[in-house]
């Protein structure tokens, strides 16, 4: 890994109930495929995709976590270093929506307070089986101050948009951080935030 490889590096972690389509979203975005009959993820999967945004190379490290309860202690360990979390539920599954507050508690407990969280309602291709209305999800996300998007990994709807918009927001956030750090010299003990750019200096 050399500095020249990219201008920004971000860690994105996908979370949410089992079977809501996290792996399919990641596969669709990173490989452009929709694997039918995708088995349950074991532990965590790891993918990298480099995208170009306004001429800048952005490397996205995407951690696709298992939704099943028994892997929770593994997946939780990834929250803290995440720059962004994609909290996914299935619009055809009321249960996966009802679990969202529980997931938010996990985020509260384990993730950094600077993390950006996006709520994603997946499987909009199965519109006839919809159980969670868009309005309801929008209201929920608004109340929790989250960005909300509905996607279909199968039809490739909004998948690119999800990741690229997120990358854009992460870039502007990172810019702001470095700006703030340059202005105010940190007090002893508060520690200055290590810019995203410097993460790769030690490889």
């Amino acid at each position: 890994m050399s500095m020249e490889d990219y201008d920004f590096l971000f860690k994105i972690v996908l979370i949410g109930n089992a079977g809501v389509g996290k792996t399919c979203l990641v596969r669709r975005f990173t490989q452009g495929l929709f694997p039918p009959g995708q088995g349950a993820t074991i532990g965590v999967d790891f993918m990298i995709k480099t995208v170009e945004i306004n001429g800048e190379k952005v490397k996205l490290q995407i951690w696709d976590t298992a939704g099943q309860e028994r892997f929770r202690s593994i997946t939780q360990s990834y929250y803290r270093s995440a720059n962004a979390l994609i909290l996914t539920y299935d619009i055809t599954c009321e249960e996966s929506f009802r679990c969202l507050p529980e997931w938010l508690r996990e985020i509260e407990q384990y993730a950094s307070n600077k993390v950006i969280t996006v709520l994603v309602g997946n499987k909009i291709d199965l519109v006839e089986k919809r159980e969670v209305s868009q309005q309801r999800a929008e209201e929920f996300s608004m109340a929790q101050d989250m960005y909300y998007l509905e996607t279909s990994a199968k039809e490739s709807d909004n998948v690119e948009k999800l990741f690229l918009d997120l990358a854009c927001r992460l870039i502007s956030e990172a810019r702001q951080n470095t700006l703030v750090n340059n202005v105010a010299s940190p007090l002893p003990g508060e520690g200055k935030n290590i810019g995203y750019l410097t993460c790769c200096n030690f490889n």
């Binding site: 890994m1 860690k11 088995g39 349950a40 074991i42 532990g43 965590v44 999967d45 790891f46 993918m47 990298i48 490290q61 028994r70 892997f71 929770r72 202690s73 593994i74 360990s77 990834y78 803290r80 270093s81 940190p186 007090l187 002893p188 003990g189 520690g191 200055k192 290590i194 410097t198 993460c199 790769c200 200096n201 030690f202 490889n203």
Partner: protein, 749 residues
Amino acid sequence: RAAAGDGCAGSFTLSMERIRELTDLAELEATYGRLCEKEKEVEGELETLLEQQGTVESKMIALHRMGPNLQLIEGDAKQLAGMITFTCNLAENVSSKVRQLDLAKNRLYQAIQRADDILDLKFCTDGVQTALRNEDYEQAAAHVHRYLCLDKSVIELSRQGKEGSIIDANLKLLQEAEQRLKTIVTEKFDVATKQGDLPQVERFFKIFPLLGLHEEGLSKLSEYLCKQVMVLLGIDREENTTWFLPAGVARIVETHQPIVETYYGLGRLYTLIKYLQVECDRQVEKVVDKFIQQRDYHRQVIKAMVLFVCSACRELDPILTEVALMNARSELYLRFIKRRIISDFEVGDSMASEEVKQEHQKCLDKLLNNCLLSRTMKELIGYYITMEEYFMRETVNKAVAMDTCEKGQLTSSMVDDVFYIVKKCIGRALSSSSIDCLCAMINHSTTELESDFREVLCNKLKMGFPATTFQDFQRGVTSAVNIMHSSLQQGKFDTKGIESTNEAKQSFLVTLNNVEVCSENIMTLKKTLESDCTKLLSQGFGSEQAQAKIDSCLSDLVAVSSKFRDLLQEGLNELTTSAVKPQVKPWINLFLSVSHNVEEEEFNDYEANDPWVQQFILNLEQQMAEFKSGLSPVIYDSLTSLMTSLIAIELEKVVFKSTFSRLGGLQFDKELRSLIAYLTTVTTWTIRDKFARLSQMATILNLERVTEILDYWGPNSGPLTWRLTPAEVRQVLALRIDFRSDDIKRLRL
């Protein structure tokens, strides 16, 4: 020439008109000449044509003579055609006869085959009976196998023949025998299984495929092998702590793989293991349940989860080691099974279609991921991570609480302890052979070091470095008053004041050293882990992404190292501003009380009794001695560098506040040289650069006349790079009381 010939007729007719028009003699003559030439040419051509007449005529005669011969040929050709047609018909006739013959021959062969089959059937029927009577089951199975290999349609056809009834009877007998044989073999196998009679088991195991019962055979064998597993477990029970069931199963598979391959063919191992795994899972469940019971695993987990006071840590330690070991064993087993089945499928499926191969791959993945062993271990590892994290946090807290620093040691005990703990926990996670578990523990360690432990060091630094000497005196008085006040109230006198200041100083310096060592230890930890992981991956554990996952987690860990380095820098800045600066500044300010507007006599006096710089150096030496003994060489070096910069800046300020005579300038030059010489001995950094401006100021203050500056300025500066601006140069010149301001103003710089 041809063109000339072509145009002959045309030119001729044209020339008639043109000839008439011709009036010039020369032209007429020329035309005439040309016409004569043409005439000669035409005559020559006519002659050659006439010469050919004879040959043409003789050829015509010859042709006339050939006429009757042609008629003869036509007749012969017709005759030939007739004969060919006849031959052709004849040939077709013959070949159709041959075809009929061939068909007849084939039917004959079939008839012979059928007769053979019927004979075989009869032979088999008889043979089976005899073999069964003699308990020669191999022979009986061979007969049944022969029967099963017979063409079923042929048998069906035979039954419709005249001797159908006999064949029917034979068939019935055979089928009965087959059934009987199946029952007998199954029974005998069961008995052998019960008695643990391996030769008999193997004997009947070989018979199953002959009866077309591959699946049953494998299922039966695995039943027997499961018994073996139980036997193994029986031994295991006595040893209690050992967990070698998967290893035992692996050994069983290894022992019986050849017999399966030989008698059942390749690609069957999966089926055997599938059956075996069911039993293995059943036993695993028992073992795990017992483990959980014995070790009170769930309660420990709950304890860890609700953050009980860590009296459990000592109990937790061996349990965690055991779980990691259990997982390592199970991973080893699953990897063994996977490798065996894959290579078995590879050979067995070498001719199979892509779909079959994928189907087999899917079955294998399902077996490996969904078997109870795998699921149970995942669950145990899940708890393990929670507990390991808890164990790490609690023991780190304990190490922090028990922190001591022995005299003469630069760092305190907790740094070594904390890194020992972190290394131990990650090492244990690594020993489980689970990459996800390892990564999770690296992540948790990163969090622990970056937040919790860094916070501890941070808080210690925040308490600051208590100031001494002048300020200390002031503070000492007030605090002494306070102490006395409070002591009086409590009725006793406390002498701890000075002592605690010293302790606080010591603590600050030790913390700085600690921070530096942390930053280094993290890099060492990363390197060690990297090589350990390479070893693990080279043994074939983990998926293809394993390396990338580990790298990513390790790079997060490494980033913490630089956070510690930042913290060190902050601590040093704090030390400089709160301890070094308040002391150094008054010492430098003393410069102002030493007049540099001096004449010969005072200058000589200064020579004998140094007014400022020697004492300043002495003070610095005393002050830095404290830091030198208390800080690691690297940090001490950084500190002296910061101090040197500080001195340069402060000294410049006081110089600008002073006035100088010619000899005063010389005095300053001497003082500056002594100072630089001293500072050079205490730092490894080059300090010339930091004192460049001051050295140049000394040069200016030493000038004889104002204009002498021009010998050093601009094109005359030579190797010297001026750090002072022209305005500053004038300002410095103005410090010399003997320089006239008009002269300075007049300078062109």
